[in-house]
Symmetry: C2
Subunit: 201 residues, 2 copies
């Protein structure tokens, strides 16, 4: 039997593909092995368990979305930057629904790799809130607000949980305006020098 020439990286990438095509729940040891053209037990040479595959998918997703977002949002006015941040995240998640589902498990595993993958996002966020004169204390709360909304909204969309026929994109647009306008009440109340960077959400 000829070898498949697999590597851990390729396994994860294929898993990402499969998850995006058929949903994360479809990714099992069986289906993934099939998709890779090998037998189930052979997978365990590259990966420790199914759970580890999901964990890697999570890191994979946050790494990619961080890169995309940070690269393209430098130099925007804070409000616009935050709006575009929302849209970029949204488009990535809708375009990669399976990987997004895995991203939801962030912090379930306390890995260093995760901190590295998202460090750029934190910097970006606190950069904007600093420029808006928002306390670091509040900025941390607002980050949770933003994250909760984004992940919640996209999860609902992916699960087809919006029954109403009105435009989902329009709902998302309105929601961003709500958030951006809502945080104005906390602007220009903060110190110049933030407390600590590299916070977890």
């Amino acid at each position: 039997m000829p070898r498949a020439g697999l590597t851990r990286q390729k396994v994860i990438e294929k898993a990402a593909q499969l998850a995006n095509e058929k949903g994360l729940a479809y990714v099992t040891i069986t289906t993934l092995a099939d998709y890779l053209g090998i037998r189930k037990p052979s997978l365990y040479y590259h990966v420790e368990s199914l759970e580890e595959v999901f964990e890697e998918l999570m890191i994979y997703g946050w790494k990619h979305v961080s890169e995309e977002i940070i690269l393209e949002l430098a130099g925007l006015e804070p409000h616009n930057a935050l709006r575009e941040f929302g849209w970029k995240f949204y488009r990535y998640a809708i375009g990669n629904p399976g990987v997004f589902e895995a991203m939801l498990w962030y912090n379930r595993y306390g890995k260093e790799e995760m901190a590295e993958a998202t460090e750029g996002l934190y910097c970006f966020w606190f950069d904007q809130t600093d420029r808006l004169g928002i306390t670091r204390q509040i900025a941390n709360h607002l980050l949770r607000t933003y994250r909760a909304f984004l992940e919640g909204f996209i999860l609902l969309e992916i699960n087809h949980s919006f029954g109403n026929p009105i435009s989902i994109e329009e709902s998302f647009a309105v929601s961003l305006e709500i958030l951006i306008r809502g945080m104005e009440q906390y602007e220009n109340t903060g110190n110049e020098n933030g407390e600590t960077l590299h916070q977890k959400i």
Copy 2:
């Protein structure tokens, strides 16, 4: 062998208990049968499948949360009503995490029973938005905003996905202020008479 004297209702209630104690993922045919003191196949006399159990849990949750919320929020000023709505939902979900997880699947099954269970919530929502002079069109968008944030935030909390040690309740409080302040930009722009009631979200 003496009978357990079970009924469909009791099975669902026990499933809810189990889900809240150990998490929804812990609820399986095996564990549930064990918890009820019967053998696995006996469950199928009361219930069609495991998926049906989850579906019933979802309806169960929405029914309960609707009742709680609507009963206690009559007569409040709209902004306060919305704030209290958020808190009531939050406390219910945190107090019943397993049932809440099942509630996330809303609209995955297009059941009539679901529409009935949540009808009260819709009425409550549109009652508040009407009084604030918000268009029904916008009110539908805002409902999605609110729902996405609530479900997203609670899901993150339940999954222990907030790594930062700062107070989660305070984050929730700040978030509600964001939402309530944010929607002011859409107030007093609507007609007196709403379009249609009983909309899906």
